[in-house]
Amino acid sequence: MTGAGPNWPAIAMFAAFVAFTLAITAWAARRTKTRADFYAAGGGVSGFRNGLAIAGDYMSAASFLGISSQIFDVGYDGLIYSIGFLVGWPIILFLMAERLRNLGRYTFADVASFRFAQPPVRSFAAFSTLAVVLFYLIAQMVGAGKLIEVLFGLPYLYAVVIVGVLMTLYVLFGGMIATTWVQIIKAVMLLGCATIMALLVLVHFGFSPEALFARAVEVKTNLAAAAGSATDEAAHKGASIMGPGTFLKDPISAISFGMALMFGTAGLPHILMRFFTVPDARQARTSVLWATGWIGYFYILTFIIGFGAIAFVASNPHFLDAAGAVHVQPNMAAVHLADALGGNLFLGLVSAVAFATILAVVAGLTLSGASAVSHDLYATVIRKGEAKGEEEIRVSRITVVVLAVAAILLGIAFEKTNIAFMVSLAFALAASGNFPVLLLSLLWKGCTTRGVVAGGTVGLLLALVLTILSPAIWVTILGHATAPFPYTSPAIFSMPAAFLTIWLVSVLDKSPRAEIDRAGYLHQRIRSETGIGAAGASDH
């Protein structure tokens, strides 16, 4: 089935999605007049809609394609991703969401730098935003490239360029208004599509999960036997998909990975940015509830889809070679399942939705990266707050184009990585840089400018260096034999290092600025808790 030429239903459905979303972009472009419109959709998005848009931002290619493929390959381990991705949401709600809304306007740096010296904190925030956004973008580009390869029979390179161009159009002209609507439409399509897939799987098994799991174990056992395992060994391999396996081999990797997933969510700039699109703290809260509900529901569906893929795809002669081994594209289990369940038409629908998913996430990421450059670096650090709204938007738009080019190049360089894993690295960076900075600046009076800049930088750089030295990059991409840093995720080292550095530097900080920083806490706290003095997302 691979390389079988273009799939016309898929192309038609995808073209319809693109045409529709571009029409929305044109409509949004006419409504995008001010800076507040461009960055925060004018602050007028309701909690329910924002919840859907957050879910849209969050249910990325990594979630849909990556996790279902992980389950397809190794079974239960994929669920560890889903759980880690979800449990960050309550923490965001309890500790951050309302405070973010009350303190910030356009970017999370507004909040992180609220009582601190602006240039250093915003410079840090801008760089860490770009680092997280770039890693996240790589994963999405790889997913899109693979999808188009399977689907349209086009080379990987073309696909990556198509995504780059479309995301540029959405963000460039439609800003946050278009991005929000693209997210909402995509979220509804993805949830609908995943629901249908999960139902089609379950209906085969009389809605008995046990029957589904039993069939999956049987299929994996047969595959192991076909690959030459003895009967006992094959049975053992088959049964291994029902429990945590080889993905997190050692305790340090497991805990570190768990930390990155949970706390990374609370440091993702494109997610944090969504809290500035709602009118007040109550709507911010409502949006988290909706988002958590939709995302949790979606992950349960993904789990069924992954096991469904084992049951239907890994047993289908269509996907087996002469020796009885499975041949499918990496990251494409959900797409193959659609083919096995509903033929060409359903394959087309699922592929179009998956592609739409990637486009929407990429648009959200790009917008947050561009805002970090224009609002934090350019307007605040370079122009010292003298920049006009139009000027800021112009810088933002230039950055969008630069980011698109960078994303295309990186997408080509990282073609072979597992996309769910790549996203987990973006989470590790966010958990080690942005999260400690935000949490301590919000909750700890003694925190100072020097503390957050030093601690955030230490956390971010340590996470980055350890990631490069880890097997995923050092061995897989750079081709060395063994990795100096053997663990799956750096967070267990880099996140505490960030907290410790912020604390130590803040405590030792005797500068005059530190006095101002500490004195600013009282007012910051009142505003963060009550919203008194909070900015509507107006432009004045």
């Binding site: 396996g245 809260r285 992950y299 009142i526 808790e529 004045h540």
Partner: protein, 108 residues
């Protein structure tokens, strides 16, 4: 803008002195930390099982192939949604009116 800031500063002084503000901080703070701890303990308990005792989660339950890890995993997802719902309910009913009274500067 400057006038706005000044009046905000004056209101901040009033708010700090208001016992309802202290009540809000205490109640909401206690509630959010308690909920956060429930989530953290549940999740890192699960992670600890993956780290130190993979076999337990892989153990079949109910005579079939379904392992203990399945209900535990799905349970964690449901717990996250449930805790979020609990917070939103109490915040809407109890904390919002308190904040509103503070914002309006109502007499007690």
């Amino acid at each position: 803008m400057a006038g706005q800031e000044k009046s905000d500063a004056a209101r901040y002084d009033e708010v700090v002195a208001d016992p309802r503000y202290q009540k809000l901080l205490k109640r909401r703070g206690r509630f959010t930390w308690a909920l956060s701890m429930v989530m953290l303990v549940a999740y890192f308990g699960y992670v600890a099982l993956i780290a130190f005792d993979k076999g337990l989660l892989a153990r079949p339950i109910g005579g079939g192939v379904t392992s203990l890890g399945i209900p535990v995993g799905v349970g964690l997802i449901l717990l996250a949604i449930l805790l979020t719902g609990l917070y939103v309910r109490r915040a809407n009913r109890e904390f919002d009116p308190l904040v509103q009274a503070l914002r309006d500067g109502d007499e007690e």
